[in-house]
Subunit: 559 residues, 2 copies
């Protein structure tokens, strides 16, 4: 049909863009907007998958009663001239079966984690294909992947490109290899245009260091472009408990979700559909809801109408359900948090908080926070912020992150830090760390570098931070009191020395006896043992340690 | 093949997610993370398309020598209980041909603008389908679309849903209608769950007001949920010049782009491919580059190897090319900027800057900025920031936006505003406005509410802001000087009055003559005409106006 209208001219230009073309043109959405960030993002995306694959290997092996090895990851960045680098990462995870390798590394939105409600590092099936896309876009080169799934199976390799117009693999080369570093695992090697930062907040080194600290069961070896080998050793032999997949919670469900799931379910009746596909929906509640909507309990789930679905969702929102099961979450834990703040830093005070899990949009999440104060930290600079999501560091887009907003929304002056106007980033000798663990982290973009501003999440962050901040205030006020007390005792001692001397002369008694009674007097007056008070610098820092312990005691009492 | 490995178990779980499913689950990426923002986003996405369609109608009609009508947009938000609203938007644009309606409104990444290098409001082909997706997800309802492409053609309607697993339309109902509001145009009506804000920075009202101000040729009628009708009148009859489509510039091209375009081009030889598919590549330069790479000039473009492509791109980066043609950009313009700051605000001083176009990643863009100062603005609050991209207001995600970072990176204390530490948001009685116009705005997410931090863009923003800030400083220092001068003159006048009186008595001369010579004396001493200096409040504000004019004169001299 040609009607000669302007709309007709426009219609000829209409076309479908593939998801790969979309991200090729919008690569800043994936974290490839600057050359520094791009290199880090490539490594980050590969390592997200590595650690997931290593942990998967352990959990599945345990279930099958098999032996397992702890995670090892080798990273090498080699400069090959100009701004060209070759990045290579090897892990000892599950490996990938031959037939899946091309798909996993080239198709965007392809993977096993998308509809799994499970706390993991990867979630969308975009990350590693996006890194391959970036490599191809900037260097035209194929990505070399080797994978081996068990001691007995051979290692297979592929050289892969992405056919962006189809979002499908283009296999340049493939075959079998004699040798692979480990019994099982995956190796990815790609050439990229990038800028390498040697150190600092946004460097690959810092990324690996932080990753290693919050994943103490992983050993990471890094060979930097100068050929220097840096080992981040394994500091714990114990594997974190597996975070479980859960069913979606009714509070997080919208009409569209209900309809989608109703078409995929294996349940035969609408009642079993509700109890089996969602968390915490009991048989009784399902019956109540369906009766109110007027749907027969034996109705086929795929046949419920949109209006019925809308009504079911509305009733589910209004019904009381237990919170989703929270053992699906895996926190970093207080000890590791403490270590992650104290390493290479002699802070005088560290406090940590792990909040109980909470729920946003039907998805469980938990917030952990920690503050380190004093010591070698600079007093007049903005406090340093360290952000983590599902145990991986976030180093970019701080301005867009809920963590940043939660921190700057607190009046830190009340807790002993400086802050102009009671809003914004505080200044002072402190580091603030926040971690969010969840079955689904709502990132602000596909590049996964900042957390979106959901109210419930912000609130939990605020509460965790305020908990830490209160500990800090108690510590600071005790420190202040201790200093005052010390001054008071010094004054007593000064005068008692004079008095003792005079009394020795006046009474003719021995100095020792008189001094003892004076000391007793001071002790009973100040409530402090003279053996503990005052003294050298060394003794002072001991007393600080003691206050830290007192603090911890108080915290435990509070909980 | 079943080898019993853990990788084999995982392989069974692998699957492709459709782009619609991806965004359904990640709707915060599209701007649907809160109920307030979601409602605004729906309207914004529809209106982006409306204004583009209205302007397209005008430009194409002009070319065909046909009459055209100026853009009219009617918006109505109706509350139908609880948090449910029905949003309806009608425009008098091109309309959409019958066969395309289902695709345009339901397929994500479908449209005519994706590979067009042209300044427009829509760019990805996501927006309006995402709004339909949100409506369907939250209410289960279909979206009702009516469109008519000319006076003679009938109006067609569709009730549409999205089959998210396929990213394809599901046509619930369709047919022909007798009546449509205008000779041509489109009407979209959808039901959504949302929260309606009556007023304020993030309200629909504010969005429409700002849209109307920077698009003065558009008339917008808004009926709010209370039934109140608000008209944002057309304040200009002249249509902004059409922004042209351009070819990509060699500096913005990467290996992947070159290869993609080489497969689509109609050029027969690689030489004509380079000169015809890219901006500013002359026949001579193309020849030079191809000779260096060692490719025959008559080679078929689709046959160049990846290595050759990589070499061509490398040489293109190292070659001097003219900047891309800049008439593809359409600025807001100084008058409209000034108006957009002054409406409803009696600022004492307004300055605007339109920078010359510049280029990021081979894409032309231009930055405009404006500052309003004083008058009824509050002195102790953070300055108000107004952001625009391609003539549409940005109201969310300020923290993630390059504009915010550019503003907070300037030491505003040097220009007369308060700012702690010379970084961060300034405080004082001011409004700062920034607009970016480009053939491709690099948004930080698909929700198009913040601009990504490309260095070249940040630099242009900084320069534009500093230009405005310098004007502000000149104004403030003149104002300060003028106050001093006035004080000085008042003192002179006070003493001259005394002296005149005494001299009249002493000399017996007439007061008028003596006063005249004193006035002359004061005028020559202060360099100020007494008729202009001092006086009532009214006169003072006149003098401010004069300074503003002087300022403009100086600015023109600077350029």
């Amino acid at each position: 049909m040609t009607d000669g209208t302007i709309a007709e001219d426009l219609a000829k230009e209409m076309k479908q863009t593939s998801v790969a073309e979309f991200f090729e043109r919008n690569r800043h959405l994936l974290g490839y907007d600057s050359k520094i960030k791009a290199m880090l993002t490539c490594i980050k995306e590969i390592i997200d998958n590595c650690i997931d694959a290593c942990e998967e290997m352990i959990y599945k092996s345990k279930k099958k009663g098999k032996d397992y090895v702890l995670p090892e990851i080798n990273v090498r960045v080699r400069k090959i001239g100009g701004e060209r680098y070759v990045v290579r990462v090897i892990d000892n995870g599950t490996g990938i079966v031959k037939g899946q390798i091309p798909h996993v590394f080239t198709r965007l939105l392809y993977g096993s984690k998308f509809y799994k409600e499970k706390q993991g590092r990867g979630q969308q099936g975009i990350g590693v294909s996006a890194a391959v896309l970036y490599s191809q876009l900037t260097t035209g080169k194929a990505t070399h992947v080797v994978s081996k799934t068990s001691l007995r199976s051979p290692a297979y390799f592929y050289d892969l490109r992405i056919d962006t117009s189809k979002n499908r693999p283009e296999i340049v080369n493939s075959g079998m290899l004699e040798r692979f570093k480990w019994d099982h695992g995956t190796q990815v090697e790609m050439e990229v245009v990038g800028t390498y930062l040697n150190k600092g907040e946004k460097s690959i080194y810092e990324y690996l260091r932080r990753t290693s600290i919050v994943n103490p069961h992983v050993r990471i070896t890094f060979i930097d472009p100068e050929g220097k080998k840096i080992i981040f050793p394994r500091t714990s032999e114990s594997v974190p408990k597996e975070s479980k997949s859960i069913k979606p919670h009714p509070y997080g469900i919208e009409v569209g979700d209900l309809i989608r799931i109703s078409k995929l379910t294996k349940s035969k009746t609408v009642k079993s559909f509700l109890t089996q596909e969602f968390s915490r929906v009991s048989s009784r509640t399902a019956k109540e809801i369906l009766n109110k909507v007027g749907v027969n309990l034996r109705h086929m789930p795929g046949k419920i109408s949109r209006d019925q679905a809308a009504e079911i969702v509305k009733l589910m929102q209004a019904t009381k359900f237990m919170a989703p099961p929270l053992d699906c979450l895996s926190p970093i834990g207080s000890n590791t948090l403490r270590k992650s703040l104290s390493t290479g830093l002699d802070a005088e005070f560290v406090t940590t908080v792990s909040r109980n899990p909470s729920v946003y949009k039907g998805r469980p999440f938990l917030i952990e926070a920690a503050i380190a104060f004093g010591g070698s930290l600079s007093t007049d600079k903005q406090v340093k912020i360290i952000r983590f999501a599902n145990k991986m560091p976030l180093q970019y887009d701080a301005g867009a992150c809920a963590i940043t907003e939660a921190i700057s929304g607190i009046d830190w002056r009340r807790y002993g830090l400086n802050q102009t106007g009671g809003r914004g980033m505080p200044t002072g000798p402190a580091i603030i760390l926040v971690h969010m663990g969840s079955t689904w982290i709502p990132y602000t973009s596909e590049g996964k570098s900042a957390i979106a501003h959901y109210n419930t999440i912000m609130k939990e962050m605020r509460l965790a931070l305020q908990d830490c901040a209160r500990d800090l205030r108690i510590y600071l006020s005790r420190k202040h009191k201790a200093l005052k007390q010390q001054e008071r005792i010094s004054t007593f001692i000064k005068y008692s020395n004079e008095s003792v001397k005079s009394l020795v002369i006046l009474t003719g008694e021995k100095e020792e006896g008189i001094r003892k009674s004076f000391d007793k007097l001071i002790e009973s007056n100040t409530g402090t043992s003279l053996a503990e008070a005052g003294g050298s610098e060394e003794e002072k820092s001991k007393s600080n340690d003691e206050f830290e312990n007192i603090d911890e005691f108080i915290k435990e009492g509070d909980e």
